[in-house]
Structures are given as C-alpha cells and as structure tokens.
C-alpha cells in the first residue's frame, strides 16, 4: 500500500518594513512599538490562504520552472492561515518540500492585491499536521507572553517580569540534536529511500 507522505511547513510571515500608515490602535502617541510587535504584525486584510498559495506556486514556477510546478502542484495546499498571527501551515509532498521551502525563502513580497514586502520564515517541518498545529499554538502563547513583558517593562521600567521567568535556554548543546533542527524526525515506520537527488 503506497501512502502519499506529506510534510507540513509551519511558516511565519514577518513584515520587516516600518508601517507606512499610522493606524495603530491602543498606543499612546509617542509610544514606540517595539520591533517584536512590529515585525509580527497581523497580515493585511486582503491577505488569505489563496494569496499565499498563489505566492508559492508563482515562486516555484519562477525558481524551478515547469518541472518544479509539476512536481509540487498535486500536493500543495495551504491548510491553515491566520491573519492575526500571520502564521500558516502549508502541506507539501515529502519528496519535494525543500523546493517549496526555497520558494518561500526567495519570496520578497506578497502578490498583488496585497503588495507588501515580507520575509517568510519556516519555523517547523513535520510529518503530521498535528505537530505543526501544536507548535503554532505554543508560539502564539510565547509571543503573547513576550508582548506582555514588553509592555510591562516599557511601562514600569523594571526587569522584574523578565527576570522572574526562568531561563530555559539549553546551554548544553547536543549538536546531534540540532542537525535536524526544526524538522521533526521521521516516524520509524515511514523511513524510506530518499528519492531526492539534490541533497548533498
């Protein structure tokens, strides 16, 4: 029985440019919005899963031509898109996920109805959509906490909150662990020969 295996890429869309319009709610005038919040602002209204799909398909076509488009077209789908957190989960076939990943890396601006420059960062690659979802939830929580800490420290000018929460940075680097990095390891049942010749 041949099952089509997929990879689910969890991506963040970051907006590196300063906001041109000053329609920022709930900030006092003269209050500097910290970069954290600026880079991860919600996507523009016109942005949705369809725009993202178009972005990816065009990117793959530009980078890999008809070959790439053909390889990737069948299984490419944006499974989840959140405008508020500018996060998306994209499904790709397992053999060619690197192509799509590269196309995302090379994307510099969102296509026309939206037309904003962006940086797309792939945050997690996993074989099941569930893992990607969990990661998305975890990150959303983290960023809320971070934004709260930012607001508090800019108001009260104390590092109290920041200092209180424990440092979870692992100082013991296990390089073997990091080789896979953000990719979830394969399920032992799913290991098969890698058909992709591109990888060195």
């Amino acid at each position: 029985m041949v099952r089509i295996k997929h990879r689910y890429l969890l991506i963040n869309i970051l907006y590196p440019d300063p906001k041109s319009t000053s329609g920022r709610p709930a900030t006092k005038p003269g209050d500097e919005v910290p970069y954290t919040v600026q880079f991860r602002r919600p996507s523009p209204d016109r942005m949705d899963g369809g725009v993202l799909t178009r972005l990816i398909r065009d990117g793959v076509a530009e980078l890999y031509g008809d070959y790439g488009s053909g390889k990737v077209a069948g299984s490419l789908q944006v499974k989840y898109f959140s405008q508020a957190t500018s996060t998306a989960i994209v499904r790709v076939s397992r053999d060619y996920y690197r192509l799509v990943w590269a196309a995302l890396t090379f994307a510099t601006r969102l296509p026309n109805p939206v037309g904003q420059s962006c940086v797309i960062q792939v945050v997690r690659v996993s074989g099941t959509i569930r893992k990607s979802e969990e990661e998305a939830i975890r990150r959303a929580r983290l960023s809320i906490r971070r934004a709260e800490a930012a607001a508090k420290s800019s108001n009260a000018a104390t590092a109290g909150l920041a200092a209180a929460t424990p440092q979870l940075l692992s100082t013991e680097d296990d390089d073997a662990d990091m080789i896979n990095g953000i990719e979830d390891p394969d399920d032992p049942r799913d290991i098969e020969e890698d058909l992709d010749d591109d990888e060195g």
């Binding site: 970051l14 590196p16 440019d17 300063p18 910290p34 970069y35 954290t36 600026q38 880079f39 991860r40 530009e62 690197r98 192509l99 990943w101 590269a102 995302l104 890396t105 090379f106 510099t108 420059s117 940086v119 797309i120 960062q121 792939v122 945050v123 990150r139 983290l142 906490r145 971070r146 800490a149 930012a150 420290s153 800019s154 909150l161 920041a162 200092a163 209180a164 929460t165 424990p166 440092q167 979870l168 940075l169 692992s170 680097d173 390089d175 990091m178 080789i179 896979n180 990095g181 953000i182 591109d198 990888e199 060195g200």
Partner: protein
C-alpha cells in the same frame, strides 16, 4: 547552537541598521522571557561589516564606533569586521595593522590572481567573493584547500541572490555550486550581507538553501554555526594571543602561563612549552571543538592552574586532551 551572521554591512548613515539587527536577533523557541526589543529570526552573533575599496586609509582606527550609536538587541553580540576589496596589491604588514582595530578581517578578491593571493599568503580570516557576478575563472581545489588549511574560510553571502534579481540569483547558485564542489564542502561559511531587514532570512531557511545548492543539511548547519564560530574565535586569538598559542591569563607573581586553546595546525607553529605534545589534526578546526570558553570556565581554569602550580614546580600545564 548559536548562529552567526558575519556580514551585516555598515555604512553611515545607518538608519536601517537597528531594524536589521533586531530582525536578526534571537529570541524565539524556548525562552518565554525575552527582552523587550529582541525579535525573532534567530541569530546570536552578528558582525558589522565595513568595506574599504582601493587604497588603504591612513587612519587605522575602527570605523564602526564603540559603543554603537543605537540600541542593540541585548541577546545579540556584535562584532566589528573589515572587508578589503583587493583592487590594489596589499602586503601583510599593512593588513595586520588595519586588522588590529577590528574583530574580523575579510578580503574580497576581484580576479583570479587576487584570489590566489588571498588564499595563499594574505593574513585574513575570511575570503569573501562577490558571487552574484559571472566569474571568468573556476575554483580550484588546490587553492581552496590550501586556504582552508591556513584557517581562512570562504564566505557565501545570500542577500543579493534572495533580493529578487534573476540574474544575480542564477550567478549566485552557479558560483556557490562551483565553490562547494571545489572546496569539498569544507571551510565555507554563510552570511547574509543584508543591507536591510527585508533581505534577512532565518538560519534554518538559509541552511535549507545551502542544502539545495549542494552543501547538505549537516554541512549547511555547520557553515552557519560551527565554521562561523571558528572564524570569530581564530580571529580573536590572532589578535590577542602570541601566535595563537600562548596567552598570559594570570600575570601575577607566580607568572603562570596558560595555554588557551589547543589549536596549532594551520600556522604549523611549534609548541612553546617543552613537555606539551603538539596535536596536529588534519581536521580543519582551528579552535577548541565543543564550546567557546566562557568567562566562568576561564576563571575556573585559572584557579585550577594556580592550585596545580602551587603543588608542582614550573609552569607546566597539562594539555586538555578532551578537546580533539
């Protein structure tokens, strides 16, 4: 696993720079208590790069002010780097003098002759080529291997290729392929060269690009973290210690000399202390393999040496065999 981005162009005026640095800085994944103005793409160490073309300036001071004129994200370490474009021939003495006020020295050859010069005789830490141009020559294994043996690393900058220009992208990919092939995947580092925040990419995205271009996931990860770290550490050693071997840590009454790192290979420098064995590895790691020595660790070592010295005579320091 700290990620290094050793090429963030510096220029005055630099209105984009604080934004770019914030964009590059690390805060994501694990820590829930990140500082206010740190944002996540994922780098820990960044080097600001100041480029000089043509004649060397007479003023040898560092062009990048210290401290920096804007707020730097707190988790980010900022190094200062100088890139010299080799349009005119340069000699080593002038280079070392210039380099002493910066943390890292890089050299940008413009043709095959200057590439040969940079790889074989010039005393720089990085050789950086403009890979978005069509290069009229091929990379040769001999040249690159010799350079890597001396401790010089070759740099790939991805920002111009990612920027959107199809021709640069094609040239970049082709040249990187040639570089990877000729260098046998060793001795490469990847950096951004990003003039604005929009040209930066996350470290894992860059590693993925490198693996598509032929470097492979493991080597790509090394290129971004380990190799870059080696560059930074070797550069520092070259500047602070005597021929990268001996560094006086505690110059007190006992005059204890301590050996900072066990790296000797590229320069082929002989051991200064009699009883130590020289461990020459054919591997291209110029500094201690696992971790950079933290201040606490340095203090501990100093203490250990002093105690040891109190027991034994002379300044014999046992080599650290674990660092292989």
């Amino acid at each position: 696993m700290p990620f290094y981005d050793l090429n963030v162009p510096w220029s005055t005026p630099n209105s984009e720079l604080p934004r770019t640095l914030s964009f590059l800085a690390e805060s994501y994944l694990i820590e829930p208590n990140a500082d206010a103005d740190v944002c996540a793409v994922g780098y820990n160490v960044v080097a600001l790069n100041f480029t000089i073309t043509g004649k060397l300036p007479t003023n040898f001071a560092c062009a990048i002010p210290d401290p920096l004129p804007f707020v730097v994200p707190s988790k980010l370490t900022v190094l200062r780097r100088l890139t010299l474009v080799l349009t005119t021939p340069v000699n080593n003495a002038a280079l070392t003098q210039l380099a002493s006020s910066y943390d890292i020295l890089a050299v940008r050859p413009v043709d095959e002759k200057s590439l040969l010069l940079a790889a074989t005789s010039l005393d720089s830490d990085i050789v950086s080529l403009d890979l978005t141009q069509r290069l009229p020559y091929f990379f040769r294994f001999k040249t690159l291997a010799e350079a890597v043996k001396r401790g010089v690393r070759f740099e790939v900058c991805y920002a111009q290729g990612v920027g959107g220009d199809a021709v640069s992208r094609r040239n970049l990919i082709g040249n990187v392929q040639g570089l990877i092939r000729a260098s046998r995947k060793r001795g490469l580092i990847v950096s951004s060269g990003a003039a604005s925040a929009g040209a930066c990419r996350g470290p894992w995205d860059v590693i993925n690009l490198a693996s598509i271009w032929g470097l492979g996931q493991e080597r790509g990860y090394e290129a971004l973290s380990e190799e870059a770290r080696k560059v930074a550490v070797t550069a520092r050693l070259r500047r602070t210690s005597y021929r990268s071997v001996v560094n006086v840590v505690y110059g007190g009454e006992q005059a204890a000399k301590s050996d900072k790192k066990a790296e000797i290979r590229e320069k082929g420098i002989q051991d200064v202390q009699e009883k130590r064995k020289v461990h020459v590895l054919d591997d291209t790691s110029p500094a201690e393999s696992e971790k950079p020595v933290s201040k606490r660790e340095q203090k501990r070592r100093r203490k250990a040496e002093l105690e040891k010295h109190a027991e034994t005579k002379g300044s014999v320091v046992t080599p650290d065999h674990t660092k292989m």
